[in-house]
């Protein structure tokens, strides 16, 4: 790996020889459009929307696939490039539904954003259009191949990152789609329902069923937090709309997961607002647990602890703190046991 000087759109850039033009540009605040590229995967060079002009090179080069070299001079937004990108978008849109009004991905669709940016209102090209059946053969992941742009991101994330390989291109030419072997339902495939394919799909071709209709990207507030399941500690963005968690994603290249999530992390959130949640203290009266006011419940707890401390000593009281609760909560319960009650009888389920 060596140091490399190059110039992109008039800006002198110092980077290293392992970088692609796309990476070097992004790291320096220069945006080159892309569709098939995503940070979690190897470059693929399929969509050609990231073509750039490199002085002295034969033809135009895909920025995602071309590594930088010393002295390179790159132009990312010439008139010719813009014309080519528009044509690529028009070709894609010639066989793409125009149902952005109801499409689940509106607002987070990379194709929609580029069509908007490049002012592509309608496709000049008229030709055959696909009309596949929408596949919702499982509780989590819906596939609408009409919206597939064949970028291969679902195939590659499942194979390269997840190491599973549920998808691959089936059929040829115009009829290619990222299919599942023998067109089986996802429940019968090795799919782990991590939703990584959903997280990388640039359009509305692969979407999460539980989030359907629950909120547009601009309607949700994203709250960064840590997953509450296993000990990996993946970073989550909870998408909240009007007080309800409607979706979960993970910030790319951040934390232990680097933007990847499992089925529990991505889809295991609706318990938070489940109707079974406890909403009031309960105390046992006549054999049954009945709702009570906080004052009464807390008073009972304190009285019984006090009584046991006085009659039998502090060690007749025991506390279980929790591997599910926060550090601060565990600290405070430990302090309650030791400093207030005066017992070391405090443990939790570390062994279980």
């Amino acid at each position: 790996m060596e140091q490399v000087h190059l110039n992109i759109d008039g800006k002198d850039i110092l980077t290293t020889s392992d970088r692609t033009i796309l990476e070097a540009a992004r790291e320096n605040g220069i945006r080159i459009p892309s569709l098939c590229n995503e940070q979690r995967m190897e470059p693929y060079g399929a969509c050609r929307i990231c073509l750039v002009e490199v002085e002295g090179a034969r033809g135009l080069l895909p920025a995602c696939y071309t590594t930088v070299t010393d002295g390179m001079v790159v132009h990312t937004a010439t008139e010719e490039l813009i014309r080519i990108r528009r044509t690529i978008l028009e070709l894609i849109l010639s066989d793409h539904p125009k149902d952005c009004m109801t499409c689940e991905s509106t607002g987070s669709c990379e194709l929609q954003d580029l069509a908007y940016e490049y002012g592509v209102k309608d496709a000049r090209f008229r030709g055959e259009e696909h009309h596949y059946e929408v596949l919702a053969d499982n509780p989590l992941i819906e596939r609408d191949y009409d919206k597939c742009i064949l970028c291969g991101r679902c195939i590659r994330i499942c194979r390269e990152v997840q190491g599973v390989g549920v998808y691959d291109f089936v059929n040829r030419g115009f009829d290619s789609v990222p299919g599942i072997p023998y067109d089986k339902p996802m429940m019968e495939s090795p799919c782990e329902f991590c939703g990584q394919c959903v997280s990388t799909c640039p359009t509305g071709a692969i979407t999460s069923i539980p989030s359907k209709g629950k909120g547009r990207s601009w309607q949700v507030e994203k709250v960064r937090t840590t997953c509450a399941y296993c000990g990996c500690g993946c970073q989550l963005d909870l998408h909240v709309r009007e007080g309800e968690i409607v979706e979960v994603s993970s910030p790319l290249m951040v934390g232990p997961g680097q933007g990847n999530l499992c089925v529990k992390g991505r889809y295991g959130y609706s318990f938070v607002q489940h109707e079974d949640r406890l909403t009031t203290p309960l105390v046992r009266k006549g054999g049954d647990l009945v709702p009570a006011a906080w004052e009464e419940a807390l008073g009972m707890v304190a009285n019984h602890i006090r009584e046991a401390m006085d009659d039998e000593g502090p060690d007749s009281v025991a506390f279980l703190s929790s591997a599910r609760c926060t550090n601060e909560e565990n600290y405070l319960l430990m302090k309650l046991a030791r400093a207030v009650v005066g017992t070391n009888n405090v443990d939790h389920c570390a062994r279980l």
């Binding site: 997840q162 500690g233 506390f319 279980l320 609760c325 926060t326 005066g342 009888n345 939790h348």
Partner: protein, 541 residues
């Protein structure tokens, strides 16, 4: 973990033992798979079941449940015999090698093989692969610890790491995967009967002085308290009068559930603070409604000692209240004023009393996202890898470890070995995941995995309803006939209250760590008419 999740990809070899990583810790599983697929890391999986990681492995060692010490001693015997040990590391950074060597010399691969069931040549090959890698990492989970020999198993892994010099560098280490989001943090915070925060012993007078001064009290006890299993026994015997449980569901998670239920019934006063009316809360005298992770501010410490923020995203339902508030309220009613308890202020108090958390603050976490302890001061960057240059205790201590069999072995009456574990779609006692409709649809019911050979002998078909019985209890569930378990072994996930695996598990404890032997219990399968007239454990009311 001695090392970081991020540096697994630097390993030339990873030994995964007693961890179904892709299901129990899916994202660490993902990082291991990436190491194999992208970096040509050699993966050795030692596991009684065929797990998904076996598809990526260079070698799968199918040891008998509870025979890990024999397998590891066998591998180390080969490493010594073939001169593959890291002699410089042993000489300069460890002690106790000679006594250890004497024991390991008794475990020639052939003898180890007889005990653990893995062929001698496979043991040799695994030893050569592990010792031959420039950097080799060990990853383990509850399959190693939940045995009456849990401590022995862990010591054996430490021996293997030291023998091959695999400590204190990227891509090496002894890496336990902690099973719950904040089990590391709960331990760090002194949620243990013998230590205050940061593992400062209650028996140490100076430490007690420090905490007494900070807390303004003068009566802190120097006698270690009771462990969880001892508390339950105490409650059963009538010695524990009040039991206060915050965010735990032992009726599903603990071994020998029937005994535990009796303990909860007998205890004079049971307080449960939780977000649902769990199987455990049903036994309570008072239930306090707490808030979920999405409704509060705080921090979790993950398995590689990374302290990260938890942030409030939504309001809690009804009158459910923040756990910090609840604890402070109980405290003030007992005459001790904890003052204001916003999470950032509590972290300041933790940092002031805990050397390893000394440099951790909300301001820094906001800025830096994550900090790995030990992080002793505000200008300390945190510690991704432990034991760099020098082992923390001074010299790494080799421990001579002899194989001991599990507490309960199969016999004529109970001829099968049951081992328990988790599934990808569910989590622990199922309180959360089984209330997520889509996850419950993926795996709606419990199954016992039975080897086709055993199934044929017993006349059990795939999908058939059977009874599973141990000396402690009985459950009814569906049979899944699969060669992913070996003959004589059955596997049962423990997420399902309607057929709780822990009605059957053995409460026998490791003598040091007091961890129960969840991974080995003798059981039998009943079918047809013999299933009638049995009192089955179930939490469905």
């Amino acid at each position: 973990m001695t090392n970081s999740i991020d540096d697994l990809e630097k390993a030339g070899c990873i030994l995964v033992i007693g961890s179904n990583t892709t299901e129990g810790h899916p994202i660490i599983g993902l990082r291991i798979k990436q190491a194999v697929m992208q970096n040509e890391c050699k993966l050795i999986v030692a596991e009684p079941r065929h797990i998904r990681l076996c598809y990526y492995a260079d070698q799968w060692l199918q040891q008998r449940p509870g025979s890990d010490v024999a397998l590891l001693n066998g591998m180390m015997n080969v490493i010594l015999a073939e001169g593959l040990a890291d002699e410089e590391f042993i000489r300069e950074r460890t002690e106790g090698f000679e006594e250890f060597k004497k024991v390991v010399e008794e475990y020639a691969p052939e003898r180890a093989s007889e005990i653990c069931g893995v062929e001698a040549d496979e043991i040799r090959r695994a030893a050569r692969t592990f010792a031959g890698a420039e950097r080799a990492a060990i990853v383990y989970a509850m399959g190693i610890t939940q045995h009456t020999t849990g401590v022995d198993n862990v010591l054996s892994l430490a021996n293997l790491a030291m023998l091959t010099g695999n400590l204190g560098m990227e891509g090496t280490g002894v890496n336990p995967l902690r099973g719950q989001n904040n089990v590391q943090g709960a331990c760090d915070m002194g949620g243990l009967p013998n230590v205050f925060t940061g593992y400062q012993a209650v028996a140490d007078a100076k430490t007690r002085d420090k905490f007494e001064t900070a807390w303004g009290v003068d009566y802190l006890s120097g006698n270690p308290g009771l462990t969880l299993m001892e508390m339950m026994d105490g409650a059963h015997a009538g010695d524990i009068k009040v039991l206060y449980i915050m965010g735990e569901n032992p009726v599903i998670s603990d071994p020998d559930v029937e005994h535990l239920k009796e303990a909860l019934e007998r205890v004079d006063f049971l307080v449960v603070q939780d977000i649902f009316l769990t199987e455990t809360a049903r036994y309570a005298d008072v239930v306090l409604p707490a808030v979920s992770f999405a409704e509060k501010e705080g921090t979790f410490t993950n398995t590689d000692r990374r302290v990260q923020r938890v942030r409030k995203a939504v309001e809690p339902p009804g009158e459910a209240r923040d756990d910090l508030w609840i604890i402070a309220q109980v405290s003030s009613r007992l005459g001790y004023d904890m003052g204001d308890t916003p999470a950032p202020r509590i972290m300041e108090e933790i940092a002031s009393l805990t050397p390893s958390y000394g440099g951790i603050s909300y301001a820094r976490l906001e800025e830096e996202g994550e900090l790995r302890w030990p992080c002793p001061s505000a200008d300390h960057p945190g510690t991704p890898i432990l034991h760099v240059g020098k082992i923390t205790r001074g010299k790494g201590l080799f421990s001579p470890v002899e194989y001991r069999p599990p507490a309960e072995l199969p016999d004529e009456e109970y001829p099968l070995v049951m081992t328990t574990g988790r599934l990808l779609a569910h989590y622990h006692t199922g309180t959360m995941t089984r209330r997520v409709k889509a996850l419950d649809e993926l795996v709606p019911r419990n199954q016992v995995w039975v080897n086709p050979g055993d199934a044929e002998k017993l006349g059990v078909g795939n999908g058939q309803e059977v009874a599973l019985q141990s000396r402690r209890g009985s459950i009814r569930l569906e049979a899944k006939v699969t060669d992913k378990v070996g003959e004589g072994v059955v596997f049962v996930p423990f997420h399902f209250g309607e057929s709780p695996a822990n009605a059957l598990t053995n409460p026998a404890l490791d003598p040091v760590a007091k961890i129960p032997e969840f991974k080995v219990a003798a059981v039998r399968i009943l079918t047809g008419e013999s299933m009638a007239g049995i009192n089955y454990s179930t939490s469905v009311t």
